[in-house]
């Protein structure tokens, strides 16, 4: 790919908090190298430049929550050679997918003075439910080192390395003592996708599942372990109903505990 023109990158935002895009801006040193290696064609958070597609790589943040966005993502897909979703919103619907478990009309009437101005979908859904996605980068927010890895891998034409095993392996490699076994602290690490480097357990906290379900999550056994440590049905339901609530394994598990409550 070297030699000719620089690859064009675009960064798109849907329903999200911008935290994942900020991770890209936070890559200071790497960003200079990235900026030298690519052409930033569209990234409103960082630049007013707005180049027309097609784009070699589109990074998509956020979930689909409105009819316009549901249409816009198809345009982006059509003008992108590769489309990579970044963060929990884009890969699983985000925290705003909590609406999927209730009736969104109830929220609208409570929150907005003029509900008539609100045009929204009943559900918040990940990008992958609307268009084909080439790679999904997990995390709420994403880990900036992993973002650099994804962009670098794309530029080099190789597969990014973002292992899908448990958080536990990250704890053990860094030498963090298991908070669940040694501290009786409920932790989602065993069912959570690696990527953060086991941040919370390193500070004595249980994992909140920011990176979503790992490759083979046994959520039922996980819930059993939480209950053995004293968590109630409601607590188990809520812990799976977080930033990745709409990911299939976490959704199924939280629903199982909703019924039992």
């Amino acid at each position: 790919m070297a030699g000719k023109r620089k690859p064009k990158i675009a960064v798109w935002k849907f329903a999200s908090c911008d935290g994942c895009q900020l991770s890209l801006l936070d890559c200071e040193d790497e960003l200079l190298a990235i900026a030298g290696a690519v052409e930033i064609a569209y990234f409103p958070e960082a630049t007013r430049t707005r180049l027309k597609g097609p784009y070699d790589l589109s990074l998509v943040e956020g979930s689909i929550t409105t009819p316009e966005d549901a249409a816009r993502i198809h345009h982006i897909r059509r003008s992108s050679k590769a489309l990579v979703t970044i963060g929990a919103c884009a890969t699983s619907g985000g925290i705003q997918a909590l609406r999927n478990f209730s009736d969104v009309k109830d929220f609208i009437s409570i929150v907005y003075a003029e509900p008539a101005y609100i045009d929204t979908l009943t559900q918040s859904t990940p990008i992958g439910e609307h268009v084909a996605v080439d790679f999904e980068l997990r995390g709420c927010p994403i880990n900036k080192a992993q973002l650099v890895e994804v962009i670098t891998a794309f530029l080099a034409g190789r597969r990014p390395k973002t292992p899908a095993h448990s958080i536990c392996m990250e704890c053990k490699r860094r030498g963090t003592v298991c908070v669940m076994v040694a501290g009786a602290t409920p932790c989602l690490g065993p069912v959570t996708h690696a990527g953060c480097g086991a941040l919370c357990p390193a500070y004595g906290r249980g994992c909140y599942g920011c990176f979503g379900p790992m490759e083979v999550p046994n959520t039922e056994a996980m819930s059993g372990a939480w209950k053995a440590l004293g968590a109630s049905e409601g607590e188990v339901m809520r812990v799976f109903r977080n930033f990745n609530a709409w990911s299939a394994p976490f959704r199924t598990e939280s629903e199982a505990h909703e019924k039992e409550e």
Partner: protein, 385 residues
């Protein structure tokens, strides 16, 4: 190498300062037990003040708690979440770098480590674990130069077990609680209202040289008797037992036993058991490049047969069910390891039981398979890992 007839010597607990000084003089980095994050972990120690004085560990399946002892014992606990393999074979390490050089590239090898460790407080099961890993990293056709350098320079100061943990079963595996060989020095801690001493013996010329530099006195008969008593007491109080008789054939002939599916229902596939096991040796390599494409590095990371990538071959993942992954771990550890290396892969340290978040216990799993008659399925994969 322990020469039984040698005169036994004693040092006072306060004499451990002298031991640290002697080790430092000889250029060793002392690594040993210390309390961190609610557990006794192995780390670099500055002085005996870093040791877990008066602390013990209570262990059971999925449970580990530190407790105060009613004495000042420095080694009155069993084994923690880590093992010495963390130092002999670091879990994450760079193997080499590559730099672009015009249209070619240049490999920059990683330097062989020069730091010499003195491991203080090595248990009998842990010496066995090192010897098992030696077969993997040193004795085979392909050596790991980093491991070999660290292992050959490391000084082993054993501490004989005088308490047994809730998940220990070294007696069943013939690996403890008393170290008979494989150490440079061995200590037995004797602590009661009147004394706090260590009976000390050398197991190698290197150990003997260090012993001679220490302030010692001949052991009193009562100290020796008490020391032996305490080891015997530990042997009698194993938290678990394991029937190792014929376990190779039992497992390899029961690959379709219903118990595998049953345990798979409980298992999280989290890999903690393999990560804490002192003999597991699997790793993966990751090649990384930077944005410029001018630098590349190869990193080695501790891996586990519980991940999907582990069995990713051309065309797909071979062990996609937890049933097959749990079976891989257990059959490798207890059965096919013997085919591969001539010994069992299990030392009976109990870590995989304690540190499993859902308390899966390999001694129970094997007992359950043993309790039910073989399922009469053809042993078609017999002996294959």
């Amino acid at each position: 190498m322990g020469q039984g007839m040698e005169q036994r010597l004693t040092i006072e607990a306060s004499g451990l300062d002298g031991l640290f000084a002697v080790l430092e003089e000889r250029g060793f980095t002392v690594v040993g037990p210390t309390v961190r994050e609610g557990a006794i972990v192995y780390d670099r120690l500055a002085s005996p003040a870093d040791l877990p004085r008066g602390i013990t560990d209570e262990q059971d399946g999925g449970v580990y708690r530190l407790k105060k002892r009613d004495d000042d014992a420095l080694f009155g606990y069993v084994v923690g979440p880590q093992s010495w393999k963390r130092f002999l074979d670091p879990p994450v390490k760079r193997l080499w770098r590559a730099e672009r050089d015009g249209s070619d590239f240049r490999i920059v090898p990683e330097e062989v480590p020069r730091e010499a460790f003195a491991f203080l407080g090595v248990r009998s099961c842990e010496i066995h674990a090192m010897e098992i890993q030696d077969r993997v990293y040193i004795d085979g056709e392909f050596k790991d130069p980093g491991y070999e350098a660290r292992r050959r320079s490391a000084l082993i100061i054993a501490v004989q077990c005088t308490v047994a943990g809730g998940t220990c079963f070294c007696v069943s595996m013939n690996t403890g609680p008393k170290s008979e060989s494989g150490f440079d020095l061995a200590l037995i801690e004797v602590v009661d209202t009147e004394r706090h001493v260590f009976v000390i013996e050398a197991g190698s010329p290197r150990g003997r040289e260090i012993l001679e530099a220490l302030e010692t006195r001949p052991s009193e008969a009562s100290e020796l008797a008490e020391a032996e008593n305490r080891i015997a007491d530990a042997a009698a109080r194993m938290g678990r037992t394991f029937d190792a008789e014929g376990v190779h054939d039992l497992l390899t002939q029961n690959l379709e036993h219903p118990r595998w599916a049953e345990v798979a229902g409980r298992c999280l596939s989290c890999a903690n058991c393999t990560m804490v096991c002192p003999t597991c040796f699997c790793s993966t390599v990751e090649d990384v490049t930077d944005v410029s494409g001018d630098h590349a590095e190869r990193w080695q990371k501790q891996d586990s047969c519980f991940t999907m990538d582990f069995s990713q071959l051309h065309g797909g993942i071979v062990r996609s069910s937890t049933r097959s992954r749990y079976r891989q771990w257990l059959t490798h550890k207890l059965a096919t390891w013997i085919d591969q290396f001539g010994v069992s892969g299990c030392t009976g340290c109990g870590r995989c039981i304690t540190w499993c978040p859902v308390a899966i216990d390999l001694t129970e799993e094997v007992a359950a398979i043993r309790a039910n008659p073989p399922d009469a399925v053809e042993p078609h994969r017999r002996g294959k890992p």
